[in-house]
Structures are given as structure tokens and as C-alpha cells.
Amino acid sequence: MALIVPETDSEWHGYFQAAREGRLVIRRCADCRRLRYPPGAGCPWCASLAWTWATVSGRGTIHSYVIVVQAIQPGFRDWAPYPVVLVELDEQRGEPTPDDGVRLVANLVTPDFQPEPEERVAIGARVEVCFQRIGPDSVLPQFRLTGEPPAARLWQLPG
């Protein structure tokens, strides 16, 4: 899959720089210390403008997912069907309210960065970050299954 991710938004420079170094970083408020994603300019919890990049474990649980059968973007046509997963990281789960967590969108990929087949995608499955090189200077954080026992009731779309 050839993919161009233009880093035209300065809020994201540190995020993609860390990805090139094999690290997943999340913006952390320098005052209340809470993580937030995507990398916004202010803290949604305390409105502070001071922040740092925090390296996180990259481990989490699939919170929800879809399987794209008909790709909209031309670059993904050869890749379909592919899973898009919403991963809830282990860090800051259930904080500051029980419904909150740090969640990222990614693809669920095999060790060689192919889309995982639908049969292996489930809400509740444990995952970890991996880094897919998509161009000479572009690296995209992705997620793969860890094989750990599920963190919650496993669920797949019936049929």
C-alpha cells in the first residue's frame, strides 16, 4: 500500500517524529498531567496550554471496530477488506470519568503489515502498537494482536 500522509498540521509533528523513532507518544498536560488525543492545543480538562509529549506503553484493548469492504480512498482499494479499530490504551482508562479513556484509530495488522482477517478482529481483544513504514520518511503507528487473554468480553459482528 502506497500512502502519503502530509504533515501539514504542526500539532502532529512530534507525534510522527516519535513514530519514526519507534515510539508512541501522547500529548500530556503539563499542569493536570492528563493525557489527551488527538494532540490538541489546549487541555480539555483544565484548559492549560502547557504540554509535553509522553511516551506510552502502546498496549490496549479494542474498544470498537469496522471492516471496510468498499474502500473510498483509491490508495486503499487493493487493501480491502481491512479492519479499522478504535484502541483504548491501558494508560488513563476510566479517567477522569468511568466513560473516558485515551483512544486511537488504527488498522489491525498482521506482523507483515497486512490487514488482519475479519475472523481475528474482536471488541475486547488485546493489542499493542507497531510501526509501519509507508514511505521513505513516513511511519504510521498501527496495532497488532498480542495473544493475551481478552481484557473484556470478546465480541464480533455476527455472521
Binding site: 500512502l3 500522509v5 502530509p6 504533515e7 501539514t8 498540521d9 500539532e11 502532529w12 489527551r36 488525543y37 488527538p38 480539555p44 474498544h63 470498537s64 471496530y65 469496522v66 471492516i67 471496510v68 469492504v69 468498499q70 474502500a71 473510498i72 480512498q73 483509491p74 490508495g75 486503499f76 487493501w79 480491502a80 477488506p81 481491512y82 479499522v84 478504535l86 470519568t97 466513560d99 473516558d100 479513556g101 485515551v102 483512544r103 486511537l104 484509530v105 488504527a106 488498522n107 475479519e118 471488541i123 509507508i134 504510521l140 468480553r153 465480541w155 459482528l157 455476527p158 455472521g159
Partner: protein
């Protein structure tokens, strides 16, 4: 807001044909719809002094429409927005009337949503630069509304046991409604089984879980209750309007309660203002960008308990002849896609009692109430209607309308 109850009315409605090849500019479409709405109100272009529209860089600005119809404006605004904008702009229009800036406000939406800027994300929309929030999902092949909204439906299935078959009832019901709507683009009734057998677009969504893409323009005229007395039709009273209302955070994926939508906040605004509750509503217009969005809205606004949306939409309640029919025109799933305006227009017709179905004397308010395909779609004695607009799970709006008898 309760002091504003019934102080303003929708007095005119206008819409073009719903098609996939208008062959015309959004300017020409918008001019036609605005002109029809003004005529429907019994007004002339000279009576209009306010104009509001919404767009996604895919339309024509108010000044162009006004110029073509000889309208001189005291104020206008073309806001960026899709679904849920209509109801929000009705609230803005009420404000313009209250402060005395305008006497009569036109709200319009004009779009070539199939032939020019396809709402599904293909064509011109797929070529826009990737920046801002889109860096969080487009690099992963997540772009269209269906791809972006469906994780909420998946999680709703996980938490509450909701099923694809339950929400397929929304399409089945709306398709039967459209079968009594001569203007609907798709008038063939479909069954739940046919929805489930249609091809996958993005699992959990089948093709028939997704709305149409169409070319069209739609318009409303809003004025004060005092001026509305002189209209061509019985005025439809605005009991409450709110929008666009956010859930906890507008970037809904990343924080907060995942399976609720903005309606949980909007309902706290509009029901007290209108002095009614969900049980008082006779007909609903829950936004059906997808089958499941109508379900999530009806649940969030309290037409059923949290988690019971699947049971509600599959119970028969939302069908013509049921307790509270939804989108009697066929909605976005079957009539055409207008980012919500058409559903408000349909509810205005319902409250006037002059729905344009196949009844011979529909325009005089004489209906058979025979809801078989090709027949009637007027709800008997409809007094209160409610629209529930949807932009995303985290952004919505609401509008409660009453007939002249309320």
C-alpha cells in the same frame, strides 16, 4: 427559552426535484427552492429580509440567491455544516426575529450531492488535503461518514445486544413511507431480509443501511406568529429549537461515553422549552443518514430507554399507522439526501394536514389513511412533530413544531 414558545412559525416550504443528475448549478437549484418557499408562504421576495444557509464548500452563498430573486437583505449567513444545521438555523432565525433585525427569514440548502460533491466521500471529497483531526483517521482508510459513525453502532451492539436486523426495520419502514411519496427517488418497498442481503459497504453497514446521495435544494420561511396569520397555509408553530448541540466532546471517538449522542443534551433544552415530553410527539424526523443513526437519535431523545433503541425501531412504532411514525416522506434513506431540511419540510406538511401523497384531494387535507404502497402517508390528527438532526454522534440538533391547533 419557554417564553419563545409559539412566537415564531414556519410559513413556507420549497423543494426541487430529488435526482442524481440535476444538470443545473446549486445556484439554480437554490433559487428555485427559495422562490417556491416564498410563494408557498404567500409572500413576495420583497418581504424577505434575512437569509441563512449551510454548506460544506459545495453550495451557493445567500447573496447569489438573493441577487437572482431581487431580495434585499438586512442580514445573512452561510454557515459551514451538514446534518443538524437546519434545526440550528431555525433557532438562529428566531433570534434574528426577536431582536428585530428581520421580519421574515429564508433558510436554504442547495447541493449536487450526487453529480458534483458526492456525500459518500468519493470524487471531489476524496481529494481534499489531510490535516487537523483527519490525520487521526484518514491515514487508516477511514474517511466516509459510514466508516466514521459505524464504530458507535458496533459498540451499541456490544453493550446492549442491538442487532442489524432491528435497525433494518428503519429502512423497511421508510421505504414503505416513500412508496406513498411521488417525489421520492426510491419508491420500491424493501423488506428487512432484503436490507440484510444487500452487499456490505463497511461492516456493520449494508448498502441498504446507507442513505441515498442526491441533487436537490430545499428551503423554509420563518416569521413571527403575528405575521404568520396572513399566510396561505395554517401556520406551523415553532415550540422549541436547539442546535447545533455538542456531546461532551466534539471529537467523539477519543473521550467520553461512546454510545450516546448529542441528543442527550439537546433534549434537556427543547422539551422544557416546548412544555412537552416525548410521549406528546405524534410524528418524528430522526435523521437517517444510516438506519442506525435514526435508532441512536430516538433513543438519546428519550423515545425509549437507553439501550432499547433497537427494540423501539423494530416494534412497528416508527411506521405509518404505528404509535409515532418516523420520516414519513421516506427520509434520507429513500426520498433524497438534503442534510436534514427535507425532514423538517415533511413535518410541516404533516402538521398542515396536506401531505402530498397519492390521495386525490391531499392538497385540501382530505386523506384516506390507507397506508398501503401508492396510497396515503398523512398521519391522522398530527399535532406535534419533532425533528432530530444529526451531524455526527457528538453533534446534533432538535426542533419541536406544533400545528395551528396546539
Amino acid at each position: 427559552m419557554q417564553h419563545l414558545r409559539a412566537r415564531h412559525c414556519i410559513v413556507g416550504i420549497g423543494e426541487t426535484e430529488y435526482s442524481r443528475a440535476s444538470g443545473r448549478s446549486t445556484r439554480a437549484l437554490g433559487v428555485e427552492a427559495v422562490r417556491l418557499a416564498i410563494m408557498d408562504a404567500g409572500l413576495t421576495p420583497r418581504d424577505i429580509d434575512g437569509m441563512l444557509s449551510y454548506h460544506s464548500n459545495d453550495s451557493t452563498p445567500s447573496v447569489a440567491i438573493a441577487a437572482d430573486l431581487g431580495i434585499r437583505l438586512n442580514t445573512y449567513a452561510d454557515v459551514i455544516g451538514g446534518g443538524s444545521s437546519t434545526e440550528g438555523l431555525v433557532a438562529y432565525a428566531m433570534g434574528l426575529l426577536e431582536v428585530g433585525l428581520c421580519h421574515a427569514v429564508v433558510i436554504f440548502r442547495a447541493m449536487n450531492g450526487y453529480s458534483e460533491f458526492r456525500i459518500g466521500g468519493t470524487g471531489a471529497r476524496a481529494a481534499t488535503p489531510v490535516r487537523g483531526l483527519e490525520l487521526a483517521d484518514r491515514p487508516y482508510g477511514m474517511l466516509s461518514a459510514g466508516q466514521r459513525f459505524a464504530p458507535v453502532f458496533m459498540r451499541h451492539m456490544y453493550e446492549y445486544g442491538t442487532t442489524s436486523a432491528q435497525v433494518a426495520h428503519v429502512k423497511a419502514a421508510h421505504s414503505r413511507h416513500a412508496a406513498a411519496n411521488p417525489k421520492a427517488l426510491v419508491r420500491t418497498p424493501v423488506t428487512v431480509e432484503e436490507v440484510l442481503a444487500s452487499r456490505w459497504v463497511v461492516k456493520p453497514l449494508h448498502l441498504l443501511d446507507c442513505c441515498l446521495e442526491t441533487d436537490n435544494a430545499t428551503a423554509l420561511v420563518v416569521t413571527s406568529a403575528d405575521r404568520a396569520r396572513d399566510g396561505r397555509h395554517p401556520p406551523v408553530r415553532i415550540l422549541a429549537a436547539a442546535g447545533r448541540v455538542n456531546r461532551d466532546r466534539p471529537d467523539y471517538f477519543y473521550q467520553g461515553r461512546f454510545t450516546t449522542v448529542a441528543g442527550v443534551h439537546a433534549r434537556e433544552l427543547v422539551f422544557p422549552a416546548a412544555g412537552i415530553g416525548p410521549e406528546d410527539v405524534d410524528v418524528t424526523g430522526a435523521y437517517d443518514a444510516f438506519t442506525f443513526t435514526a435508532m441512536l437519535q430516538l433513543e438519546a431523545f428519550g423515545f425509549c430507554e437507553q439501550g432499547a433503541g433497537g427494540q423501539y425501531v423494530s416494534s412497528g412504532a416508527i411506521e405509518l399507522g404505528g404509535r409515532r411514525p418516523n420520516n414519513t416522506s421516506g427520509g434520507h434513506l429513500c426520498e433524497g439526501y438534503t442534510h436534514g431540511m427535507s425532514m423538517v419540510i415533511e413535518n410541516v406538511r404533516q402538521l398542515r394536514g396536506t401531505v402530498d401523497d397519492y390521495c386525490a384531494r391531499a392538497a385540501q387535507g382530505v386523506h384516506t389513511y390507507d397506508y398501503r404502497p401508492g396510497g396515503c402517508r398523512q398521519v391522522r390528527d398530527a399535532r406535534i412533530a419533532m425533528n432530530m438532526g444529526w451531524a455526527t454522534p457528538a453533534t446534533g440538533s432538535a426542533l419541536i413544531l406544533g400545528s395551528h391547533r396546539v
